[in-house]
Amino acid sequence: MSASTFAAPSPAPARASHRPLPPARLRFTGVLRSEWIKLITLRSTIWAWIVLVLLQVGMGVIFVLTMDAAPEGGPLQQGADAGAADAVAQTAVMASSLGILLGQLVISVLGVLVITGEYGTGQIRSSLTAVPKRLPVLWAKAIVFGVTSFVLGLIAVAAAYAVTWPLLDDRGYTSDLTDPDVWARLVGGAGYLALIGLIAFFIGALLRHTAAGIGAAVGLLLVVPTVLQFISAEWATVLGQWLPGSVGQSLFFGGDVFEPWQAVLVMLGWIAVLAAPAAILLTRRDA
């Protein structure tokens, strides 16, 4: 294969101004770069990220400002007994993580849009022309979106922690980032955002339609758990515990149903169950 050979536009003879381009080759790293460019060059992404961070910080501040002061002789900074330290950590984590309950909706909408926006505008045909094997587009999108969502989740949670720390300190709750209970849950919250975002992303990849995708993703988070609560059968309770939204809460609020590592596995299972048919349909359907 010869090198790319368009001359730079100039009236001079082609060869005089000619600088050969490096050989073009389709690579997965290139597809990753392409998806990164696509993600950050849309205003919706930037807005979603800003809203995510603001919600996280805002919810933390509201939580702290509306809480009762620590009871006298309660879990103060010197609190030596395990129960008191635990309560401090719980409160700090709660203040930093509460926003996730809203942030998950933002990240889910963004996850759906990342893929259905391409179908809605016809961009997908440009994308699949450049990467005709198709699947690399899906995986690269998932990786770029998953990693950026995790990083943004970390930024949001860290910002909320930083802003609420002095407020909590005033009220007698002095938490410590070296406390594994604190940082593990903060990271867990960021991880939850990435995982729930990927679930929404693959729902979007399956449905290929923005309204349907957002409806399904948000419905899975908000509507399905509510409906299941009204069914007083054992299976409904169990199913409710296994929904991604409730599973994921053990990652940042803690819970007695799943250990954090189990919660991650269950959510990865949800992703796999959605990603497999999405991948098969992507290769089979006409674009």
């Binding site: 536009p9 080759r25 926006g117 016809g122 045909r125 440009s126 994308s127 450049a130």
Partner: protein
Amino acid sequence: MQRASCDTEHTDARTKDAGTRAMIEATALTKRYGAKTAVHDVSFAVRPGQVTGFLGPNGAGKSTTMRMIMGLDRPTSGRVTVNGLPYAQHRSPLHEVGALLEAKAVHTGRSARNHLRAIAATHGIPNRRVDEVIDLTGLHAVAGKRVGGFSLGMGQRLGLAAALLGDPATLILDEPVNGLDPEGVLWVRGFVRQLAAEGRTVLLSSHLMSEMALTADHIIVIGKGRVIADASVADIVASTQTFVRVRSPRAAELARRLGQADVTVTEVDPGLIEVRGLTADAIGDAALGLGVALHELTTVQGSLEDAYMNLTRDEVEYRTTVDPGAAAGAAGATGADAGLEAVAR
């Protein structure tokens, strides 16, 4: 407007292939959507170094065929290869084929430059090349603007820019002049002619014969999902025989006397005949010899448009190749008031 140019080795390598090896080969390509057959058993070959026109009425299956070449639609049966391999199997697809299948297959919220950067990134094509194709297609002034606000013409230019990113050996352009202003139409014509002159393969679709006549060297006519004709423009021109319109009070007598091998005389009206196979000079001389008065003697140049209309009118009868005799016969029969047709053999 700047032009793309190609270095010598590149061109040489490609021109050597010209005429010998087909770059795009479709074999028994069929696409059904439910009960509707969009493309039916289509086979053709597109060669490098020339512009091949893909011509047919709207809905004939041109776009579906092009989408199958690019792997966007799966053929129901049959196969199509580009440079010997299905498009998706190439290691550097954008360097093999650049395609403009629809204007604005672009996210409306992204700027033109960012759209091109994202496509270029997949193949590690540098931003320098992105700027080149922006200049080449005259998008410089709007490269930073979001595509949502683009006119159809600007969308076409952006699609063309994207198609050129990988410096492809083959270009597939679906109705590229749609929505372009006259200056843009002229530019596209010159541009595709030049790309072909560089040894590239160009497949260009249109529903306008006039557009093809100005741009293409070879034409594949498709109608109702089938290939109706596959011939060089020269052959198609030859098939649209020129005829001579003769008006005379004694036209019937003249018609009988002119009858000889390779001459076709069609009586359109009493007193008006159309003669194929003789020049106006020869007819005038013959009339003088017979003492027949002529009231009109006009040479009428058959147009490609006519040939196309004839070809697409009945895609079953004329589906293989353009046979001059068949086309002439068809032309004769098309007169709305076609009367007696005298064919002397």
